[in-house]
């Protein structure tokens, strides 16, 4: 089957790749670009472990085709920290033990960061609904929610 050349920006850098039209953007990120921070937990958009931003919009990369990314700006977990400086959410997830196995963590951080960019003072309920598409099987969500609340408070303080 014919493959296509796709030009994108990934975490701010220009990136070109070749892919089969059947490959999801998640397949491309992982298998062709080596960005394995985005995980495949379901492949059906139900778990959120592959969360990325596409032109700033939060999406599941398993529900986007690689070829659809032409001309798009892609943001992945690998681009969340600023070099060695962790994003406040990353720090708070560690501080609050908002991870156990850690496999859902990249998706949670990408999703929560997207929330805090829109709303730096979300209620507990707003956080829980925003993250309803990010399954975590280890933590029962409690410590994740607290970490996001604390990160939001820090962001408000800094603003």
């Amino acid at each position: 089957m014919s493959k296509q050349v796709v030009s994108t920006k990934v975490n701010g850098d220009p990136v070109d790749f070749i892919c089969d039209p059947r490959e999801s953007l998640l397949d491309v990120l992982r298998d062709r670009l080596g960005l394995t921070g985005s995980k495949e937990g379901c492949g059906t958009g139900d778990c959120g472990a592959c969360s990325i931003t596409l032109d700033g919009r939060l999406v599941c990369s398993c529900l986007v085709l690689g070829v659809e990314a032409e001309g798009k700006e892609i943001g992945t977990i690998e681009g969340v920290a600023d070099g060695a400086d962790l994003h406040i959410l990353q720090e708070k997830i560690i501080d609050h033990a908002g991870l156990q196995c850690g496999v859902c963590t990249p998706g949670i951080i990408v999703a929560a960061k997207n929330l805090l960019e829109k709303n730096d003072n979300p209620t507990e309920t707003e956080i829980r609904y925003w993250l309803a598409g990010n399954l975590c099987r280890c933590t029962g969500y409690d410590k994740i929610i607290r970490a996001v609340q604390d990160a939001a408070a820090e962001l408000r303080k800094a603003a």
Binding site: R30, K39, Q100, K143
Partner: protein
């Protein structure tokens, strides 16, 4: 150490909450899980699976698949070892069918190709001829009259004549004479309870990368709870020597028991051996749900006799667990666990393992216990209500304590059940008034906890930092706990210790990360390994000072002269001693190997408030409190994490999770859309109270916490829903259609 002494131990690092050492890797996406490695020349595997619940395999024609460009190897059962017995045979039979497909999703053949898409395309070209056979998937049907016999050969010798031939194992335990006990009772309640199979639901599907070479050696990278176990099983299934296969555990994206066995790892090895290239295999979610190891479904019958004052006079239980087409259901567990929290004179417990056309069940967090406790703790709840006794008081009245002989045999040393009950009763949660349509549930739970074979080694560097090697994958923050315990013994900062999960070639044998054993057993081994190093450090200091090594003690990071005759010397720090170690006798390392037998049982009491919508039967958990005896919480954050995670998995099991099989015997809900695990918006915060009644069998008092946390919630939530709905809920899941129907009919039916 005496109990009081142990209770009063002062710690510098234990009990603090430092950042976990793998934190940065895991929040930046750098941590490498099972599917996150690649190798030059690597092939991708896919598996051909049975669409039938039960079928004879007449022919597998791989010719078309083989002809596809990019296909490099195809394996079937013929590519694995023959002559296996016992569990090795069962595992092989499960991961690659031989003459019969035993369940929907059973693997029949596997392909390695140059891309994942080609491997998938090739799988569709494999032609299999089946002769469908009668099937059974329901536990009650499976042991009723006309059910097809799944595997007569697996019936164990102690199963009495006259039992249905799908009952393959029988276990019993107890004490006293239940007839006498029931004779003393003022109230007797007997009920049947049913639970559906649930899946552990770890977010990371099984994944591995195998590279076998023509010299019979191999390397395997995989996501597992125990790479030594993977090594042993894979070697057996491939017919090679164990030590020729080096297995490295990746970071693990959840397991909850299900990654203590293997599914694709030996298949990847067999493909690699045939193709002579590295082969990566990654399951998709549908494969995980259809063809890995969910927990058993169950049918329990529990009968309890009680005096008017709440004293339990007798308890009887029969626990039937369905474990798929293999004799593996953990039916001995509910028999032992359900009434373990209570001091009962007369008890008789039976566990039965049942075969069906479902996948081979795998461990799921306190395997077998939650479903049995779902029955026993509800009967107690019902009796408390009937007798007008507060449910916590009823449990306190019968609670096991030090010296109680449990119904399963052992006599308890110091345990903390009463402390959890008292803390639950005193917790503000217990006195918050309930509103209309709300109900409160209480339940207790027990888990044995476990030691298991363990090897740990530590190496001191000249700069005074320490490398600690353990052989149990870190599934929930255990690196941090080990580093804390090492820091406590060595007296050096937590940050100076780096913990690595060693591969099978670098450290001796370790059992899996399971059985709530890691913080206890690997912790104990870490402490002892570090102590062996501090002894050596004391010896080096003694040499420096020219005194007897016995006259030197290790305290808070320093070697100090000890006793009145040791003399007066400036204490030497670990850093100072390490700097000179190569001149004072060579490298200083510590190690410890053992199978510790002194695990301390864990008890918990859970409180939950549920609101039931009377018009739709939908239950919402509005408040949840976990009270658990951790013995000693090494890193309290990760203890709470276990408590919260276990409770929430239990909530899912209670309310919405279930395996749904169709009339055709095929699994109907093979994606997370319909296998409904709790999402963030379903839940409240989960309050935690950590009780610390030290385990006398661990230097710092550690008990395990991973499993007890999922034992009570099924029953606790059911007690709450029963209270809110006015109907005793005897079936899981308590899905809205079932609860609504029960409210209309005044009872739970099918």
């Amino acid at each position: 150490m005496a109990f009081d002494q142990q209770k009063d131990q002062q710690f510098k690092y234990i009990g603090t909450r430092p950042k976990r050492q793998d934190g940065i890797d895991k929040v930046t996406g750098q941590a490498k899980y099972g599917a996150d490695t690649y190798q030059a020349g690597m092939l991708h595997g896919s598996i051909v699976r049975s669409p039938h619940a039960h079928a004879r395999i007449l022919k597998i024609d791989t010719s078309e698949a083989e002809a596809l460009d990019g296909v490099k190897a195809i394996v079937t059962r013929a590519d694995f070892a023959t002559g296996l017995t016992g569990e090795n045979w069962n595992i092989l039979e499960n991961i690659m069918a031989d003459k019969r497909a035993l369940y929907d999703g059973h693997a029949l053949a596997a392909i390695a190709a140059t891309s994942p898409l080609i491997a998938r395309d090739a799988a569709k070209l494999v032609k299999v001829e089946y002769e469908p056979l009668p099937h059974v998937t329901d536990i009650v049907d499976a042991i009723s009259g006309g059910a097809p016999i799944i595997r007569e050969s697996s019936i164990e010798a102690n199963v009495p004549e006259g039992y249905h031939k799908n009952i393959c194992r029988r276990f019993e335990c107890g004490k006293g004479d239940v007839e006498v006990g029931f004779g003393e009772a003022d109230l007797i309640v007997e009920r049947d309870f049913f639970t559906e199979a649930t899946h552990q639901g770890y977010i990371e599907p099984h994944a591995c990368l195998a590279h076998m070479t023509p010299d019979g050696k191999g390397e395997l990278w995989c996501t597992t709870q125990g790479h030594y176990n993977v090594q042993r099983i894979c070697a057996a299934l491939l017919g090679i020597e164990t030590s020729q296969l080096k297995v490295t555990a990746s970071e693990i994206g959840g397991g909850f028991g299900a990654k203590t066995t293997v599914f694709i790892d030996p298949v990847a090895c067999a493909l690699s051996r045939k193709a002579n290239r590295p082969v990566k295999m990654v399951m998709n979610r549908s494969e995980v749900l259809r063809a890995t190891g969910p927990a058993s479904s169950s049918w329990s019958t529990v009968k309890v006799g009680m005096k008017k004052d709440g004293t339990i006079t007798a308890a009887q239980g029969t626990y039937r667990l369905q474990g798929g087409a293999f004799p593996s259901a953990p039916s001995e567990s509910p028999a032992q666990v359900t009434f373990a929290p209570y001091d009962i004179e007369h008890a008789e417990m039976v566990g039965l393992s049942v075969l069906t056309n479902r996948p081979k069940q795998a461990a799921y967090r306190a395997p077998g216990a939650p479903m049995g406790v779902f029955a026993s703790e509800q009967v107690l709840d019902e009796m408390a209500h009937e007798l007008g006794i507060d449910p916590i008081d009823l449990r306190l009245k019968n609670a096991a304590k030090e010296g109680t002989k449990g119904v399963h045999g052992p006599t308890y040393k110091r345990i903390g059940l009463i402390e959890t009950l008292e803390a639950a009763k005193a917790h503000p949660h217990y006195s918050i008034p309930l509103k209309e349509n709300q109900g409160r549930g209480v339940a207790c739970g027990f888990w044995f906890n476990f030691g298991g074979s363990t090897s740990v080694s530590m190496a001191l560097s000249e700069d005074g930092s320490v490398a600690l090697s353990i052989g149990t994958p870190d599934i929930g923050g255990s690196r941090a706990s080990m580093a804390l315990m090492a820091a406590e013994v060595l007296g050096i900062p937590y940050e100076d210790i780096r913990v690595t999960i060693a591969d099978t070639a670098s450290l001796g044998y370790n059992d899996n990360t399971h059985g709530s054993r890691v913080t206890y057993a690997v912790g104990l081994a870490t402490i002892e390994a570090c102590k062996s190093a501090t002894q050596e450090l004391c010896k080096r200091a003694a040499g420096e000072w020219g005194i007897d090594p016995e006259a030197v003690e290790w305290e808070d990071g320093y070697a100090r002269p000890s006793g009145p005759n040791a003399g007066s010397f400036e204490p030497l720090s670990l850093k100072q001693l390490a700097a000179k170690m190569t001149q004072t006798g060579g490298p200083i390392n510590g190690h410890f190997e053992a199978s510790p037998q002194t695990a301390g049982p864990g008890f918990a009491t859970h409180l939950v408030d549920v609101e039931v919508d009377p018009e739709t039967g939908k239950s919402t958990v509005i408040r949840y409190t976990v009270v658990m005896d951790a013995g000693k919480a090494i890193h309290p954050d990760y203890v709470e994490g276990q408590m919260q995670g276990g409770a929430v998995q239990g909530i899912g099991w209670a309310l919405n999770e279930e395996y749904v099989y169709g009339e055709d015997g095929r699994l109907q809900n093979t994606v997370f859309l319909d296998y409904r695990v709790p999402v963030a918006s379903d839940l409240p915060m989960i309050d935690c109270v950590i009780i610390e009644v030290p385990n006398p069998g661990h230097p710092f008092g550690v008990r395990g916490v991973g499993e007890t946390s999922i034992v009570p919630p099924l029953a606790a939530v059911a007690n709450a829903v029963s209270a809110a709905s006015g109907v005793r809920q005897t079936r899981l899941p308590m899905s809205p259609p079932r609860v609504l129907k029960s409210m209309k009919e005044g009872k739970v039916v099918g």
